[in-house]
């Protein structure tokens, strides 16, 4: 629905636009779908000129069909699978996070969503040496916990020499960019900024960005939903479109976290943000605590697949979000390494 403007294509002058507008042809769609003979008679413009303009507009604005085989080749070369840092979660996600897709983690408070997000950021930054953008909207990002996870993951890899590990962990920390966005408009501008940077391909300090982690998307949208205003739904869909566009155009893996609410009729837990949001992520993982209530303290969590394009739903694995602990025998603070 692009408005006709002078200079949109050669041959489209300002007078032509004024005349067309007087005859209620305002946008490209109106122009292309109208009967040109009719228009040339009413506006007393040359038929040939109108046909030429239409050809240029069609070439400029229409989408071209792509061959399935070409698409497959392109996908094979551009898609990457990123490990999440936890082998059982990788198994659940069919060997990892796929770029070009939106993956969602949902769970009750305290179920470990932020821990899994931190683990993903640590694994991508340390293992693959790629940059990660972490959009934090809940204030739950704790850099010291991330550092712990990096230390635990670095211990697992044996190829690193002992002297390099501290430096590589600090470098890994520098590759993770954290933005605190507490409002949906701030989140949209942060995503827009990412898009601008990537499309300009500026060789800045960010480097190759492969993962965007958003914790959590429901915290910024939930205050807008509900009631009689459909405003919240529009913003939510705008955000969904931004995320999917980012994932597809720039081959990023987008991870979002969502809350769960209680269904008022059945009393069961269901993901927040409703049915409209449920179509946005291609993969949905539900995290649950193994203990029944808060009286039993445990670090074991179960992750089950609620929606996936590749694996059967209902698959369940066990995670231990405490396994990246560094059991320090003495209270050594991480500042010793700096």
């Amino acid at each position: 629905m692009v408005v006709l403007r002078a200079g949109l294509c050669p041959g489209l002058t300002e007078e032509m636009i004024q005349v067309l507008r007087a005859n209620s042809v305002r946008t490209v769609v109106d122009f292309v779908s109208s009967d040109l003979e009719d228009v040339s008679q009413k506006c007393s413009l040359s038929y040939k000129a109108l046909v030429a303009v239409r050809r240029v507009l069609l070439a400029q604005f229409s989408a071209f069909p792509a061959n399935g085989a070409d698409l497959y080749e392109e996908l094979k070369s551009s898609t990457a699978i990123l490990p999440t840092g936890s082998p059982s979660l990788d198994q659940l996600l069919d060997s990892g996070l796929y770029t070009g897709e939106v993956t969602e983690l949902m769970g009750a408070p305290g179920s470990g969503k932020t821990q899994v997000c931190l683990s993903i950021a640590a694994s991508v930054s340390l293992g693959l040496k790629q940059h990660v953008l972490f959009l934090d909207s809940t204030g739950g990002f704790t850099a010291s916990r991330l550092y712990q996870m990096l230390q635990a993951q670095a211990e697992d890899e044996e190829e690193q020499a002992v002297g390099d590990t501290a430096l590589s962990q600090l470098e890994a920390l520098q590759r993770i960019q954290v933005a605190r966005v507490f409002d949906v408009y701030e989140m949209l501008s942060a995503l827009q900024e990412v898009r601008d940077r990537l499309s300009q391909q500026a060789v800045s300090c960010t480097g190759p960005l492969k993962t965007v982690v958003i914790d959590s998307v429901s915290a910024v949208i939930h205050p807008l939903l509900g009631g009689r205003q459909s405003e919240g739904l529009a913003i939510m869909m705008q955000l969904a479109r931004e995320l999917k566009m980012l994932a597809k155009e720039f081959s990023l893996a987008v991870v979002v976290t969502n809350q769960v609410t209680r269904d008022s009729s059945t009393g069961l837990l269901k993901p927040a943000l409703g049915r409209s949001w449920s179509f946005v992520p291609s993969t949905r993982v539900l995290l649950e605590s193994k203990g029944a209530a808060w009286e039993e303290a445990t670090t074991r969590r179960s992750a089950s697949l609620a929606k996936s394009p590749r694996q059967p739903t209902g698959m369940q694995v066990e995670l231990d979000i405490g396994n990246s602990d560094v059991q320090e025998p003495s209270p050594a603070t991480p500042t010793e390494g700096l």
Partner: protein, 366 residues
Amino acid sequence: MQRAVGSLPLGPALRARLAAAGFQTAQELLDTGPCGLSREIGISKEEALEALQVVRQECSGDAARTAGGAGTTRKCTALELLEEEQAQGFIITFCSALDNILGGGVQLTKITEVCGAPGVGKTQLCMQLAVDVQIPECFGGVCGEAVFIDTEGSFMVDRVADIAAACVQHCRLIAEAHQEEDHQKALETFSLESILSHIYYFRCRDYIELLAQVYLLPDFLSEHSKVRLVVIDGIAFPFRHDFEDLSLRTRLLNGLAQQLIIIANDHKSAVVLTNQMTTRIGQSQSTLVPALGESWGHAATVRLIFHWDKSQRLATLYKSPSQKESTIPYTITPHGFRDVQPPAVTQNTESTEMNPRKRPRREEEK
């Protein structure tokens, strides 16, 4: 500059008109200018001017951030955050077991929620924290002021005076033991009167007053920049009774939570909320769960649940981004919130059954 029109903070009616007129990106809006805009979508020139100002602000914010300019308010690398966190102080609670499971004390820039049955000690902890936040830095505190928002009317000034007197006494003992210059100087300003005068007390009687107070708090905090603690004692009380529309309640609570996170982050202060408990009746048994529903559970970053075990008070860390779940006992003495003293054992050999992660940020002088 290619920001889609739908993602700009404009009113819904205006947005609908822009979409109908065929505008897609912010750049097109800026190119049209206010006169052209008002002509095309049929709004007055002043409204068009206002809308363009909003768009310009958003886009210039974007451009500044892309160029790495000074518009980056809340964006940094994880390494910088780590350094910031390590330099940050904690608000100690005078109960070393609780401080240990919290990783050093109540953290600044985070929302901590304390849930518990009536009479278990939530308001006592709040009053203790309002005093502890003012401990001078040489004694291990953050030397800040406190804002106390009371909705239940349970704030007792004489109790706070007792707690403050015990705290001053404690610091005096430390100063005598260490005999250092800055300890003596700090003690001169750290007295009962100064403690009480730096606790700003607000009384809110219903949810509208509470919401208004929280939304007006940023202005108050920018005048009183030394505030490091905001306590809301009883966030459940105004929202639980007399609220017919539950979806409105959820929306208000979520908006409140986001506003509190913004306050905690921008002013580097800790936010402590107290919540009530409610009974959830399952198939075979009933459990006590924190009130205000599931969606409220996501608002707080750290969640502590206080409960009874026969006659012993216990505190459980239920949700935290960096610490393990664990349970410790505590007690409330005439001096305030304290550890449980094991009988006939000195303080240094205190040990708890669970495995709290001991990561003191600096020497705890106890």
